[in-house]
Subunit: 421 residues, 2 copies
């Protein structure tokens, strides 16, 4: 038997175990689930040294492989980070439990009672990259919403993830949640990930978290339904009636506050009348904040130190202090550009004209539309959703920041006394 | 240039036109959309003879190809059927418009106003088989919910569909809805269908309507998100505490009222104690209604005229007056059988024990669960949803009968005065 065949059996067996555990977990009380999350949080804190020791092995391997600094930062854990994600689990315990909510209910003329109730999805497959904190975060959100989870983390974090999951399993043994509800695919084998793509019998949804290429691979190859997250090629459109101070504050915030996150701005679309009037202010702000500008011909002519923009500049996230600048003559032209290059994440208009803002918000197809505010607010925490499992850029099921309800579905329960049609 | 390359340009061009039309359609008023639906309904009635003439061509070709009677029935149109689907459009006009609903709204501490509003999905790709009424039904539901639609009907109904779409287009020219909002892929080419599978740029969702093999082909090959509909391998579980009269009435209704639809029962799961007590009554009812029984060993021993059931009997829809009979010793065994063979559509338990019923409804994973009622109620009309675009057997986005809200998504609209993070 080949190694891959052995792996094949194992991943499917794990998914089956998760499915079985989901049945028990799905009907636990809120307090049983909350108590389990607190027990896991305590265990992670009590065992932080073991996690750090495992993380050091991953960091050493990462150094040997010459991973870049940003990657190593995401991979790295310390006592504070571990206590942070333990505390995150306690916060999830405090959130309202979506499960069992009666969303609607009515009685038919024949006396048949109908109830629409919220239930867990079942088993969530989570495919993610180097951040080991996702292991604890995702498990916490899944368990609170009554779902089992199959975790497949990036191979560079294998030792860290293995250590975190071992502690979660030991803690769950003291709780009402079966430890099989958290499955960890302990493999460096890429095939293990691909097996999850088509395991429709056992896995109800796949959530990829990571870069654009990971998400693309999952979307293109999975037959299991996918919750697509994270790629945000976000635009700030400054209309000719945009207030200069608001425009510049918002642009700088959206570009520089955390350039590597998905709700950061990547392109400034600017009405040429506004650009001509305020180019001095704009140029000063861009220079002051160390922003590298890639512009179209008008931007090249009006602003200093601009590099010519190519198709790549319009189409991709920089995730850095780079900014593309596109000039337009009308709202329609701005919307056409967003239609072509946007990823339906977050788009902003800066204008003092309410009618123009309304038109922008009606016609642009995205999860979050902003009038005179920064795209950085597209975030479960910032918008008051509590914890989030990711930001959906798809239209089906969930759109925008996804809190616990995104991990649920519904059942219609009909109670009768012999009704037939 | 090859024929397929020409087709390629055409289907993509059609999808692009639909996308452009969707932008206009998405912001029309409810009255503009309703008026357009009524205009289309009138036109279909006024031109029923042209539709019948086109349908005759399809019927003649179908006869030549020797299609079976049930297929020819679905394909066949007459004045009454055409007036029925015209009337259906008027009924859709009467339904509440989901678009523009403010689903929730709040203000952050910093003054940023947040509104969650319901918006159209955009462009719906509808892939269906021989029923030409779907052409009008699906177009009506799409337009009312502000969506453009790309229709790809079965090749056996090509002439009928072409005629219906021509009338829809002529009627739309007199309304606020751009006629490009209804695209019809006028092709016998299978590649045309496959092109829709991956057109993520232009098509927001695919809805396959037809047999299990069509749905499977779409789910396995599409990268565009799919709303999976229709396969119902539904079970009636008669518990040992099931009332005999209710059990038999419900079973016979669920099996025989309309055997070919997805909410019909396919398998009777029966507790062996109940079977032993009521086998005479059950056998009489099955015989009286001309039901062919395929049973396990116990059923073979207890009931007359039973054929031995094979894996196929448990796993597939009969869509005929055949019934599989599985005997069990416990609720758990019944649930395990449903878990293994069910399609998460509709499942019923017959029992006078409320605790047993509650456990069944909690533990069985399906869109619709029934206690002492027929599975035949899983239907948008019967449950009071108004028209339905199909019955979802998936868990994401929509589950169970899908009315107009299933064809919508949301946008978060944030209005500020310069807020940054």
């Amino acid at each position: 038997m080949t190694a891959s065949a052995i792996q094949n059996i194992t991943v499917e067996e794990q998914a089956k175990k998760a499915k079985k555990a989901a049945r028990t977990l799905g009907i636990l009380t809120t307090e049983e689930k909350n108590q389990a999350l607190r027990t896991v949080a305590d265990a992670l804190e009590a065992n932080f040294e073991a996690i750090i020791a495992a993380n050091l092995i991953d960091l050493k391997k990462g150094e040997e492989k010459g991973f870049e600094q940003a990657f190593m930062d995401r991979l790295s854990l310390n006592k504070e980070r571990i206590f942070d994600f333990a505390e995150g689990l306690r916060q999830v315990a405090e959130l309202p439990d979506p499960i069992g909510d009666v969303m609607s209910g009515w009685t038919l003329e024949n006396g048949l009672k109908v109830e629409e109730v919220r239930v867990p999805l079942g088993v969530i497959g989570m495919i993610y990259e180097a951040r080991p904190n996702v292991t604890a975060d995702a498990a916490g959100l899944a368990l609170k919403s009554g779902n089992a989870i199959v975790l497949k983390g990036g191979s560079s974090a294998l030792n860290s993830n293995r250590s975190i999951v071992k502690i979660i399993h030991q803690a769950l043994e003291k709780t009402a949640i079966p430890k099989d509800a958290v499955q960890f695919i302990d493999s460096l084998n890429r095939e293990a990930t691909q097996q999850l793509f088509t395991m429709k019998e056992h896995i109800d949804v796949l959530i990829p978290r990571g870069g654009a290429s990971l998400i693309k691979a999952v979307v293109e190859n999975a037959t299991v339904p996918v919750l697509e997250t994270g790629v945000g090629n976000c635009h700030i459109y400054v209309d000719q009636e945009g207030d200069a101070e608001k425009a510049i504050n918002i642009l700088i915030n959206a570009k520089t506050d955390r350039p590597a996150v998905c709700n950061a701005a990547e392109t400034l679309i600017v009405h040429q009348n506004w650009l001509k009037e305020h180019k001095g202010l704009l140029a000063d702000a861009l220079t002051k904040h160390g922003i590298t500008v890639h512009g179209d011909e008008t931007a090249l002519a009006e602003l200093p130190n601009v590099q010519p923009a190519t198709e790549t500049d319009w189409a991709n996230e920089y995730l850095s202090l780079d900014l593309a600048v596109k000039t337009v003559n009308s709202l329609e032209e701005a919307i056409d550009h967003i239609d072509l290059y946007g990823t339906k994440h977050s788009e902003a208009i800066i204008t003092e004209n309410t009618a123009t803002a309304k038109k922008f918000m009606q016609l642009v197809d995205a999860a979050a539309l902003y009038h005179n505010a920064s795209t950085r607010f597209t975030d479960g925490g910032a918008l008051g959703f509590g914890a989030e499992i990711g930001i959906s850029t798809q239209k089906l099921h969930a759109r925008g920041p996804m809190g616990l309800p995104a991990l649920t579905t519904r059942k219609y329960l009909m109670s009768g006394n012999g009704q037939v049609r």
